[in-house]
Symmetry: C2
Subunit: 391 residues, 2 copies
């Protein structure tokens, strides 16, 4: 039997994740390669109690088919949080619940990308977005991102000359680099997007994880009609329940609904109700503060160990999120480092898959949200060993 | 702001579902138009207990990220049920968990359909499949399906001459018609698929709902390498938890994994664990027997009332599932009937969206799994009134 797969399969990048999964299953390996929130910080008891309350009060509706748009009380909660936390004029009508924010990437690409359509990305940019978009066969055009935000000349040229379907960015504590846009960069992006009628897709998976707890203004605030934002409870409540959302102007939401209904009908009714119950009956702010404290301490520890043990490697210094990016001296190769690391029983993520137009061989991503303090100490020691061996 | 949507949006059929949702929200309307399992038959207490056990034993892992392939114990359960119930040599390695079986339709099309690729469908065929596939811009080619199965000459001509990426069918208690393939038709389909290397996509959402409780042999049994099957717990346990699966040969599964990971990373970990716990700690066979009994009685009642009240309408006589198809005398239009029905506070589903190549104006679908005995009596009386008025 010969299976004739679709042409789009050829466009998909080779996934590095199989190797990563193998790594993450080996308990002897300390992994800085993944992107899991710390298991000990998941409020299992709180979510259990929320689930019990849902079964008691609304079990039948939480187990029956529901609507494509998502659980209205949860959409209202998210809209209210946008209003109070960020001053955005959000309403539930502009918000849709998705299977994590990863599903937003797939569906927004399905709404906007035909084969050959230009999609703008950050360089480096989130590899999960590269993978999601690739199946729609776009032409990726990337803009370098520094500690202040995108290179504005390059961003402007892209929007003016290449008319991308959208630009995809993570202004807060980016994956993989951990850097954030300055407020000036956000305003400049908004101006250019308005001028060129470019959609700015703002993936805000990490905004709630600012170490200082302070919100940053989204690009969408300065260009509402251009702004498509997505968010997620995966980093703050539970990834296993797969609840994220998209917040977008009405014409986008209407199209999104059609595409989403055809894709899998509607979001998980039970998980939506449980998350909403948890958010509204537990101390979510206290929980977030605890998560931020732990991740901030882990990040500081990792930065300090990098400086001490590996002084010729430069790295970003995140103010939130879960990741930092390290850059080795020119000529060094992160795939060689990856292999050397496995011998020392530590894992890092080579940067290459984050560069949609190629490059990044001298970079690797470090996650600081999964490992404990002790694991970070031991793991960074192993990384230093590995680095010496693969020189 | 002008939003430039992708070309594929033009290919999508106009959805009838918005009007349907409005109907389903009006408590004064008795709806035979939807496709919900009966709410009273959802074992809320049993699922609640299963959830409590999951939180107690494996709460952390049920709330953390998990693998794309799905919860291994659930995949093993499904494989074992295929082995014991249908004699299929299924293993967990050939099974993947999805967000209901609707997601399988989207992802299989993503794996196999480029713009212009031929996709074979039944006529009439499941409208949710038409919608899912449409976004990949196929050319639909349909084969008439009667009470015995597909028109074999037409099926053979399609497979030999048009080389479809796959043929999509529902051999058991089809949506919308409620008819099933004879065993001879299944064998003949399998022979033709093997001969022509055509994938037979066998949507088995209703196989467990045979009124006599007896399994029918799938086409995949007679052509394993050609067979891609999907199943769902939506009709048997709970639709709100969105747990379905696909069972396919290894090369298809490998491609499916890549596509699925990019789409939304992995299935809901909590819902998978709860469903598995429910299946293995509750009397699932007893539950299924109860569901079958109620649906069989509802179906009989509806058929009898159709015969009594609307003798010039012909209808299928399902042996399982949730739907039957009614055909009016030539010249009658089901959209006019739909409007007349709403005035009488009853809803049926016009057949047109089930005909991917057009036609079906004289048909409508009736659901018998949602309404109670009394609602069926009252609702069929209203339908008879409406039919007289729109003549």
């Amino acid at each position: 039997m010969h299976y004739q797969f679709a042409r789009r399969l050829d466009a998909a990048p080779e996934s590095f994740l199989d190797r990563l999964f193998a790594v993450s299953r080996d308990p002897d390996i300390i992994s800085f390669a993944g992107g899991l929130p710390m298991t000990a910080l998941i409020d299992v008891a709180g979510i259990r109690d929320a689930a019990a309350a849902v079964f008691a009060d609304e079990g039948e509706s939480a187990l029956q088919y529901t609507t494509t748009d998502g659980y209205l009380p949860l959409r209202e909660y998210i809209a209210a949080r946008y209003r109070t936390r960020l001053g955005l004029p959000a309403t539930a009508a502009e918000i849709r619940i998705t299977n994590g924010s990863q599903q937003c990437l797939d569906l927004i690409a399905k709404c906007f990308v035909d084969p050959g359509t230009v999609v703008g990305m950050e360089r480096p940019g989130y590899l999960g977005a590269v993978e999601a978009f690739s199946y729609y066969e776009p032409r990726f055009r990337t803009v370098p991102v520094t500690a202040e935000g995108p290179d504005m000349a390059a961003f402007s040229a892209l929007c003016h000359e290449e008319k991308p379907a959208f630009f995809y960015g993570i202004p807060n504590f980016q994956n993989p680099s951990g850097t954030s846009y300055s407020d000036a960069a956000r305003r400049a992006c908004a101006d250019i997007c308005r001028e060129t009628e470019t959609i700015f897709y703002e993936d805000d998976a990490f905004g709630e994880l600012a170490f200082d707890g302070q919100p940053r203004q989204p690009v969408k605030k300065y260009a509402p009609e251009c702004g498509v934002m997505s968010g997620s409870f995966s980093k703050t409540v539970s990834p296993g329940m797969r609840i994220g959302w998209v917040y977008a102007p009405e014409p986008v939401i209407k199209t999104f609904d059609c595409v989403r209904q055809a894709a899998d009908l509607h979001p998980n009714a039970l998980a939506q109700a449980i998350i909403h119950r948890y958010l509204t009956t537990h101390d979510y702010e206290g929980h977030l503060a605890r998560v931020r404290r732990v991740y901030a301490a882990n990040c500081r520890q990792m930065c300090d160990l990098l400086d001490d043990l590996l002084p010729d490697i430069t790295h970003t210094t995140p103010a939130g999120g879960m990741f930092m990016l390290a850059t080795m001296p020119a000529g060094r190769d992160s795939m060689a480092l990856f292999d050397a690391c496995l011998k020392e029983r530590v894992a890092v993520l080579p940067g290459v898959p984050f560069y949609a137009e190629g490059g990044g061989h001298d970079t690797f991503r470090l996650n600081f949200s999964t490992a404990t303090e002790e694991e970070i100490t031991v793991g960074m020691g192993r990384l230093a060993q590995a680095y010496r061996h693969c020189g």
